[in-house]
Each structure stands twice: as structure tokens, then as C-alpha cells.
């Protein structure tokens, strides 16, 4: 299918994947057709839009994609997936080229009171939550890829925790097997944590082989009163891939949401996270790192909405940029007039490893309440030349000294990951990135 222009977007079949959502009710068809209509109308978000000013999607818009159904799905086995597993025995749901693969998943021992299923098995409640608009409103034209996802979604994981349930941990593993002709995978995930439940969820996006494809992922998250969700995301797509993701989080009273996201794959990536502290005393702690090299363009855009009083939010994002790569961090915090006693902190730091690397960072605070604690800070700097020299005068080689200093910059973020297996997982991904690090 061709997504060159909004007109050509008629090639998108709004019903694509409807078969997959077998019991898909009529109202959903209406929603999906309307979403398709909006995408046709407005097309890909343009850099003229404020929230897209640092990221130009034209390389994506220029590419012609086929639907996921058209891919053959080369044979792979569990052994192929081992390097990407969180732990050898954690609960696991696997999607290959956007399609659920029960044969590769490990869902036999999912505990009572919890459900981990493919979109196909989504119930009516699930569907309602799945198609809800993102938790923080922006101008509609900036959200057309979400609409496209609504129209085309054909696979994804539904993770449901009943009251007081514990699921620790589950991995959602999305594997791309690129083929000669690029394909688009419109994934839609849902994580619903009911009151008092607790879960650790890792989303991993990986690629076996090489080639162009597009992951357009939406993850909807609802965290009910007193529930706790530790959410991790590894974006390690193939080097020719496009990755666009929207994570939308709604937090209820005293809900706690903790996220760590690492973006290091794809030629062009955008990780958008919207969090609404929609009830009192909710807590959201987001952290992440972008490791970009070569000609990669990786964008992290976060919006936090303090809608109700006494919420706490924290953001700590660090970029390491090498080669001709470009990293973007946009972080918006809005505190609603009623959201007194909110506490919102944001910090972003970028480390540029080459003269041609670039980083843009845009903090935005909109504080409409008067009794709040808010702060933000942003730095962009080079590798500390003095420290680099100091290490070398002790006999540490150039490449190792560089690694040591990059590690010092990122390491702390990784050390702060609370779940041991996740910390080890990201440490491994990071070490692998460093070891890979011959300068492009």
C-alpha cells in the first residue's frame, strides 16, 4: 500500500485487520472509518506543527509500505529470540511482523486474575480503552499517526490485571523480519491495571535481519487507584526502520507509574509519551535514554498533565549522540488550575560525541496553579576533554576512555532501574551499543 500522500491513502483499507478483531462491533467500525478519514484529510504530521518542528517525517511519507498481512513471516524459532528475552522464564507474548505468534509465546503460567492475550481476544471493555484518545490532548493534526493506527491496527497485546493481581514480569516482544518490500506494522497494546494490582511490563521492539519497515505502535495504559505499573521499553529496531510510538497513560488516585525507555534503533524514531495524572496523589516517574549514531534521528516527546492535586511527576532523559545523528527531547508539563500541591521535575541532558552530532531540547512548563513545586533543567555538552585526557594519562586507551565517560553519563540512569532483570537487560543492550561503537 502506498502512503505517499493523503490522497493516495485511499489505498489504506480501513478494514485491514478487522478480521483480526473478530467480534469487532459496528461502533468500532465507525470509529475506525472516522480515524481513517482524519488521516486522509491531514496526512503525515508536518514539521510546521509546533510539536513536530524538530522531526521531519518526509522520509517515512515517501516510502511505500505493504500491510503486515502481506509479509511471509520467515520461519523463526524460540532460539532466535533468546538474545532478546528479558529472562528465560518470564511470561512472554511474541508478535512477528505485527502478528501474534502463540508458538513463540510463553503464556501458560500467567497467574490467576491476570490476562495476557492478543488483540483478537479483546473484550468490549478492552476495546473501549484501546480506542480512547491519548491521555493528553494536542492539536488533532499532530495525531494523525494515532488515527492511522486506529484505522489499521491488526495486532498487539492486551495485558489485564484484576484487582490486587500481581504480574511480575511480562514481556511484549515485537519482532520484525524485514523483506524486500517494506511493510507497516500498526500495533495496538493495552495495559489495564485495576485497583491495587502490580505489574512489570517490558515492551521490546527488535529486528532480525535488515531492511526497511515501519512500526507504528500505540500503547494505552490505565492505572487504577493504588495500582503500580513498572513499564520498560526497548526500541532496538533495525537500522533502516521507522519507529513511531505513542504511549498514553492515565493515572487514577494514588496510582504509581514508573517508566524507563531506551531508544537506540531505527533510522527515524519518535517516542511519544503522554501521562495524565487524572486523580489526586498520582505518581509518574519517567526516565529514558536515547543513543543515536550514524545518521539516526531519534525524538522523545513527553507531555505530562497534572489534572488533579498533589500529584508528583519526574522526568530524567539523557541523550548520547554520535556521528551525524540528531536527538530531540521535548518535555511539556502542564499543571491545571486545580492541581495544587503538584510536584513536577524535569531534567534533560545531551552528550555530543562528534562535531556533527546535534541535539535539540525543548522544555515547556505551563503552570496554572499557584501552590506547586516545579523545575526543569537542560544541558547539552561535549565529552569532558579534561576527564578524557586524565583517563588516558593513566594508561586507559582512547576508545575505552570514551566508553568509560559515556557509561558515567548514562550509567546512573540504568542503575536506578528498580527491577533487577530489567536493569540487567538494559545494561546488556547499552554495553552492546558501546561495544558496537566504532565511529560511523
Amino acid at each position: 500500500m502506498n502512503v505517499n500522500t493523503p490522497h493516495k491513502a485511499s489505498d489504506f483499507r480501513p478494514s485491514a485487520g478487522r478480521e483480526h478483531l473478530g467480534k469487532s462491533p459496528a461502533w468500532l467500525d465507525g470509529v475506525r472509518e472516522a480515524a481513517m478519514e482524519r488521516f486522509r484529510e491531514d496526512g503525515f504530521p508536518s514539521p510546521k506543527l509546533e510539536s513536530w518542528k524538530f522531526t521531519n517525517l518526509s522520509p517515512l511519507a515517501r516510502t511505500t509500505f505493504r500491510s503486515a498481512e502481506a509479509t511471509k513471516g520467515r520461519k523463526i524459532t524460540r532460539v532466535d529470540l533468546e538474545p532478546y528475552r528479558l529472562t528465560p522464564d518470564c511470561h512472554l507474548i511474541v508478535f512477528v511482523n505485527g502478528r501474534f505468534r502463540p508458538d513463540l509465546s510463553a503464556l501458560d503460567h500467567v497467574p490467576d486474575g491476570t490476562r495476557v492475550v492478543d488483540l483478537v481476544a479483546a473484550g468490549e471493555d478492552d476495546l473501549q480503552a484501546l480506542i480512547a484518545p491519548p491521555a493528553v490532548a494536542v492539536e488533532p493534526r499532530a495525531r494523525t499517526l494515532f488515527d492511522l493506527n486506529t484505522a489499521c491496527m491488526g495486532g498487539g497485546a492486551v495485558v489485564h490485571l484484576g484487582r490486587g493481581a500481581i504480574l511480575d514480569p511480562v514481556q511484549l516482544l515485537f519482532v520484525a523480519l524485514p523483506e524486500a518490500e517494506p511493510a507497516a506494522f500498526h500495533l495496538r497494546n493495552l495495559i489495564r491495571a485495576e485497583a491495587g494490582s502490580s505489574a512489570t511490563v517490558l515492551e521490546s521492539y527488535v529486528c532480525l535481519g535488515e531492511g526497511t519497515y515501519w512500526t507504528n505502535a500505540v500503547t494505552q495504559i490505565d492505572v487504577a487507584p493504588n495500582a503500580v505499573l513498572r513499564h520498560y521499553k526497548l526500541q532496538a529496531e533495525g537500522s533502516a526502520a521507522f519507529h513511531v510510538a505513542e504511549t498514553s497513560v492515565r493515572l487514577d488516585h494514588q496510582a504509581a507509574y514508573r517508566m524507563f525507555a531506551a531508544s537506540l534503533g531505527s533510522q527515524l524514531g519518535r517516542n511519544e509519551v503522554d501521562v495524565d495524572l487524572a486523580a489526586t496523589e498520582a505518581v509518574a516517574r519517567l526516565a529514558g535514554t536515547t543513543l543515536a549514531r550514524g545518521a539516526q534521528h531519534l525524538d522523545t516527546t513527553v507531555r505530562i498533565e497534572h489534572s488533579m492535586p498533589r500529584g508528583t511527576s519526574g522526568q530524567e532523559f539523557k541523550n548520547v549522540v554520535d556521528g551525524r545523528a540528531h536527538a530531540v527531547f521535548q518535555g511539556r508539563v502542564r499543571v491545571a488550575p486545580d492541581a495544587q500541591k503538584s510536584d513536577a521535575q524535569q531534567i534533560s541532558r545531551s552528550l555530543l560525541l562528534s562535531k556533527t552530532a546535534a541535539a535539540d531540547t525543548k522544555p515547556e512548563l505551563e503552570i496554572l496553579a499557584d501552590d506547586v513545586k516545579c523545575s526543569h533543567g537542560a544541558t547539552i555538552g561535549d565529552l569532558d576533554e579534561e576527564a578524557f585526557f586524565y583517563l588516558r594519562t593513566r594508561g586507559v586507551g582512547e576508545a575505552e576512555a570514551r566508553s568509560v565517560l559515556i557509561d558515567a553519563f548514562i550509567g546512573e540512569l540504568i542503575e536506578h532501574i528498580t527491577v533487577d532483570s530489567a536493569r540487567t537487560y538494559f545494561r546488556r543492550a547499552f554495553d552492546h551499543w558501546l561495544a558496537d561503537g566504532g565511529r560511523p
Binding site: 569532558d384 586524565y390 583517563l391 593513566r394 594508561g395 586507559v396 582512547e398 576512555a401 557509561d407
Partner: protein, 250 residues
């Protein structure tokens, strides 16, 4: 051991050293003294190979080989050590990890077996004790939150661990109170030996009360303008650098 011939060094396109000659025989301790701006730190950085310190003429012979073509880490592995005037704070890098990889890089280069964690710790403890330093230092990030005295002692500790053949101590006495100065000086003295050559770069004579040099050289206007025995340092202390600065400018 170390022979510097007609050394010219430029920093930011400005020549700081204008033909410096200096020779230090193996196992000796020499002091280079000079006023501010005479080129002392430039000499120290040029010996260690810092980027931006361009050697435009002359050479530095170390054990018969020209140092100037070597990267800083190669010099270090060949046994050159620079104790910094301002030791660098490196948050996020733990002293022990850093020092272990440094030592093992040097040992690999020398064809010696690498130290494992236990051997490393044993050696580190022994050296720390010698310098009257707290073992907790090992698990702290490099120089972060250290007092001035602790940073200087940490330099001497690193030196004792790396076991260099040529140690260049850049203003190791600056910013130390008298007790700290004594401890650092004791550390340096404990590292004196027939196989180790030491170059003390300093403004003041007071370190030389504790670490007595074999020779003293006066650096002024980018050149060595006078050399002599340890009494030269006392003369400088009494009369100041004014005469030398004038002579160098003439």
C-alpha cells in the same frame, strides 16, 4: 633517562616554551621552579601529551625514544605519569574500577599478567595504608567531593599503584596545608628509588624542604635559565624570581 632538547610548545597558536633544554638522569629527583606564566604546566602537559599542546620544534627523549609521537596512554604504559595540578573530578566513574583497568592496561603493555579483583584490592589496600588513606576512597567516584588534599593524595596513590618510571608532579604542593604537604611528601619520598625518575614542577620552595631534589632548574620566559643544587631553591625563596624574569625577557 629524560632528555628534553630545544623544546618549543605552542598553545592556541601562542608559543609558551621557547627552546627548553633539560636532562634528568635515571633515579634522580629534579625540581623545575618558576613564576606564574613561565610555562611550568605547559611543560608538564607536553610531557604527558595533552591535545592542544603543539610541539613545533625539539624533542623529548625518554629512555632513548621520542615521546612526542606517542598518545597519552602509550606514554602512560611506557611508564610516564603526570600528577595533575588540578586532579579532574569524574562523576559516575568509580576509583577502583578505573584504577584496575588502568593498571591492567599498563601490565598488558609490559607483558605482565593482569591483576584480578582480589590481587588488585590487596595491592590497593597496602598502598593506601602507606599513604594513610581511607579504603572507602576506592568505591567513590574519581575525585568527586574530595578536598584539595585528598585529591593530591589520590594522585600519589595512583602513582604508587601504576609504578611509573618517570613521574611528573605538577604543583603537587599547591593548595595543601602543612600536614597534608607532609603526608604527600612522605608518599613521594617512599616512591623514590634507583628505577624512578621524578620531576617536581613547583612555584614554591616549601615542598623541597620535604622532598629534597638532586637538582633545581629555574624556568623563566619559556626556557631553563639556571640550574644548580638544592641550595638554588633557597636562593629563589630569598630573592624571588624577578632577576630571572628580567634576564629571560632581555
Amino acid at each position: 633517562m629524560l632528555k628534553i632538547e630545544d623544546l618549543h610548545v605552542e598553545v592556541d597558536n601562542r608559543e609558551i616554551l621557547h627552546g627548553l633544554d633539560l636532562e634528568i638522569p635515571k633515579g634522580e629527583v629534579h625540581a623545575v621552579m618558576g613564576p606564574n606564566g613561565s610555562g611550568k604546566s605547559t611543560l608538564a602537559y607536553a610531557l604527558a601529551g595533552r591535545d592542544g599542546y603543539a610541539i613545533t620544534r625539539g624533542r623529548i627523549l625518554y629512555q632513548g625514544r621520542d615521546l612526542t609521537a606517542m598518545a597519552p596512554e602509550e606514554r602512560a604504559r611506557e611508564g610516564v605519569f603526570l600528577a595533575f595540578q588540578y586532579p579532574v573530578e569524574i562523576p559516575g566513574v568509580v576509583n577502583a574500577n578505573f584504577l584496575k583497568s588502568a593498571i591492567n592496561a599498563v601490565r598488558r603493555h609490559r607483558g605482565e599478567a593482569e591483576l584480578d579483583a582480589i590481587e588488585f584490592l590487596k595491592l590497593a589496600r597496602q598502598r593506601l595504608k602507606l599513604l594513610n588513606m581511607d579504603e572507602a576512597l576506592l568505591s567513590r567516584p574519581i575525585n568527586v567531593g574530595f578536598s584539595g588534599g585528598e585529591k593530591k593524595r589520590n594522585e600519589i596513590f595512583q602513582m604508587s599503584m601504576l609504578d611509573p618510571r618517570l613521574a611528573v608532579l605538577d604543583e603537587t604542593d599547591s593548595g595543601l596545608d602543612i600536614d597534608a604537604l607532609k603526608i604527600v611528601a612522605e608518599g613521594v619520598n617512599s616512591l623514590r628509588g634507583p628505577d624512578r625518575t621524578i620531576l617536581l614542577v613547583t612555584h614554591y620552595q616549601r615542598l623541597l624542604d620535604y622532598v629534597v631534589p638532586d637538582q633545581v632548574h629555574v624556568l623563566a620566559g619559556g626556557r631553563i635559565v639556571k640550574s644548580g643544587g638544592k641550595e638554588l631553591a633557597l636562593e629563589l625563596e630569598a630573592k624571588g624570581y624577578a632577576d630571572f624574569v628580567k634576564a629571560a625577557a632581555a
